[in-house]
């Protein structure tokens, strides 16, 4: 049986983002990183990345400073809770209403 035919006969899923849609829409509070308080931001060098380690959705980048993909960030707040320098603040989504 040709592979193309077979793949249409079964439940075969291919990897891609946004299976549940833009899960950023689930968010009611938004993590905002203060690069002046954040360790890699302050040092201007890779360091810490506790937020990256603990993000359940992998939406924080291991960059200088770390970035957050708000398309998919569900706003759980673990990053803010675990940040050793309290560089991440959870801000009400309603304050971004004009975006």
């Amino acid at each position: 049986m040709p592979a193309g035919d077979y793949r249409k006969k079964i439940s075969l899923s291919e990897s891609g983002p946004g299976d549940a849609g833009k899960t950023g829409s689930w968010r009611i509070v938004r993590p905002v990183i203060d690069p002046d308080v954040c360790i890699p931001g302050r040092r201007n060098a890779p360091a810490c990345y506790i937020c990256w380690l603990y993000c359940p959705d992998g939406v924080i980048s291991r960059s200088v400073p770390p970035g957050i993909d708000y398309q998919y960030c569900k706003g759980c707040g673990i990053c803010a809770e675990e940040c050793p320098t309290k560089a991440i603040t959870m801000v009400e989504e309603s304050s971004f209403i004009k975006e």
């Binding site: 592979a3 035919d5 077979y6 793949r7 439940s11 291919e14």
Partner: protein, 405 residues
């Protein structure tokens, strides 16, 4: 090569010829000698395969499902409650469209415990999306196993090869073992249309919604119902596919038979007895006896039970006056499942509509005497043979509410 061996060994030799790569099995009577034989072939080096002794039939089929999902030709065998314990996995294998082959050495089901033959085990798996082939003798067992792999891999639907426990599984009979070189040409190595692979990753058997939704390219995928409709569509397509497999088999091995039904003296028959499995050969003797008395009786053995070749069966029966269905299985509260299926086929295809009557017999290994069959057919092979109770029991010693006769 002609040999004299048991039906279980015939099945094992078929699996060996098919070069099954993964075999997982759990002991259950009367299947056990089949998979014991396979373990012996593998341990002795006669056969190259992985043999996995599992802790349950559920796991046996789990291993076959996973192995086939990763591209291996896989086989298991069971009977009775073992088959019932697999039920969830049986449905899964069909929905996942895996070309597994399983032998079922037919045995009654508990409770109460019985180890003897009837067809309640495999018949109860009728609606699972597996193809079911019933073999009548040792030659048909070995040949059917080989054909089953061929068919399964062509249409990506699993196949059950069923044969009577003890009556076939444990009796020694002569049969021809196909030449392995020809078998290899008949059944080339399995080339899976998809196999789990890190180089081509996919998530298989994912939760599927009632309706389709966009895939990663934005194309709308099927929903659950479309996937299931394709299974039904392809099951029906298995009917002509089996014929093609049979024709190839015949051209390569020089023997074969009608893949759907095996008629015996049916051409001019006024009354036709229908059955599954080895019982049909016992019915041949009864038909001969009735013919000697001037009753034009015939026998139709059904090989392919699912997909049900309804038109073919109706055409085989529609010229006669009466159809008498002998069954070792029952849909409790109604009648024998084969009887229902035959009536349904005749309703659609046969204008003359012969009467259909039904005998339940041999449950849990109750002896089926040729005399009993003769007496039943003698009564039913008459113009009013369809009168009275539609479903009657043969060989019952104590009728319900009655005392021993």
């Amino acid at each position: 090569m002609q040999i004299i061996e048991t039906g279980n060994v015939a099945a094992a030799l078929g699996v060996k010829l098919a070069r099954a790569q993964v075999i997982a099995a759990y002991p259950i009577t009367p299947q056990t000698p089949l998979t014991e034989k396979l373990s012996e072939f593998i341990e002795s080096g006669e056969m190259q395969a992985e043999y996995i002794p599992v802790e349950s039939e559920h796991s046996a089929l789990a291993i076959c499902i996973a192995a086939a999902s990763a591209g291996a030709r896989s086989f298991t065998a069971t009977s009775s409650n073992g088959l019932l314990y697999m039920h969830e996995q049986i449905q899964w294998a069909a929905g996942a469209r895996l070309p597994l082959v399983m032998c079922v050495a037919n045995r009654g089901v508990g409770a109460p415990w019985t180890i003897w033959n009837d067809h309640q085990d495999s018949i109860s798996q009728r609606d699972t999306g597996w193809i079911q082939i019933y073999a009548n003798d040792h030659q048909q067992i070995i040949d059917s196993v080989l054909k089953a792999f061929c068919l399964a891999e062509e249409i990506m639907i699993p196949v059950m090869v069923c044969y009577d426990g003890y009556i076939l599984s444990h009796t020694h009979m002569p049969f021809d073992v196909p030449d392995s070189e020809i078998a290899d040409a008949f059944l080339p190595p399995y080339r899976p249309p998809y196999a789990l692979d890190p180089a081509d990753p996919a998530n298989l058997n994912t939760v599927t919604m009632p309706d389709g939704r966009p895939d990663v390219r934005g194309d709308i995928s099927p929903g659950y119902m479309e996937i299931r409709h394709l299974l039904q569509h392809d099951m029906v397509e298995a009917i002509p596919a089996l014929k093609r497999v049979e024709e190839r088999f015949r051209s390569m091995f020089g023997r074969g038979h009608d893949p759907y039904v095996e008629p015996y003296r049916c051409d001019d028959a006024d009354y036709i007895a229908v059955s599954l499995g080895s019982l049909s050969y016992q019915l041949h003797d009864v038909a001969d006896a009735l013919r000697a008395e001037g009753v034009r009786a015939g026998v139709l053995s059904v090989h392919l039970y699912r997909p049900f070749p309804d038109r073919i069966i109706a055409e085989a029966l529609n010229r006669c006056s009466g159809v008498i269905v002998f069954e070792k299985a029952l849909s409790y509260g109604y009648q024998g499942p084969l009887c229902s299926d035959i009536k349904s086929a005749l309703y659609r295809y046969a204008q003359g509509k012969p009467f259909v009557t039904n005998y339940i017999l041999g449950l849990g290994g109750r002896e089926i005497t040729t005399q009993d069959l003769y007496e039943a057919l003698k009564v039913s092979c008459s113009p009013d043979g369809g009168a009275g109770e539609e479903t009657r029991w043969i060989g019952l010693k104590i009728p319900a509410g009655g005392t021993q006769t």
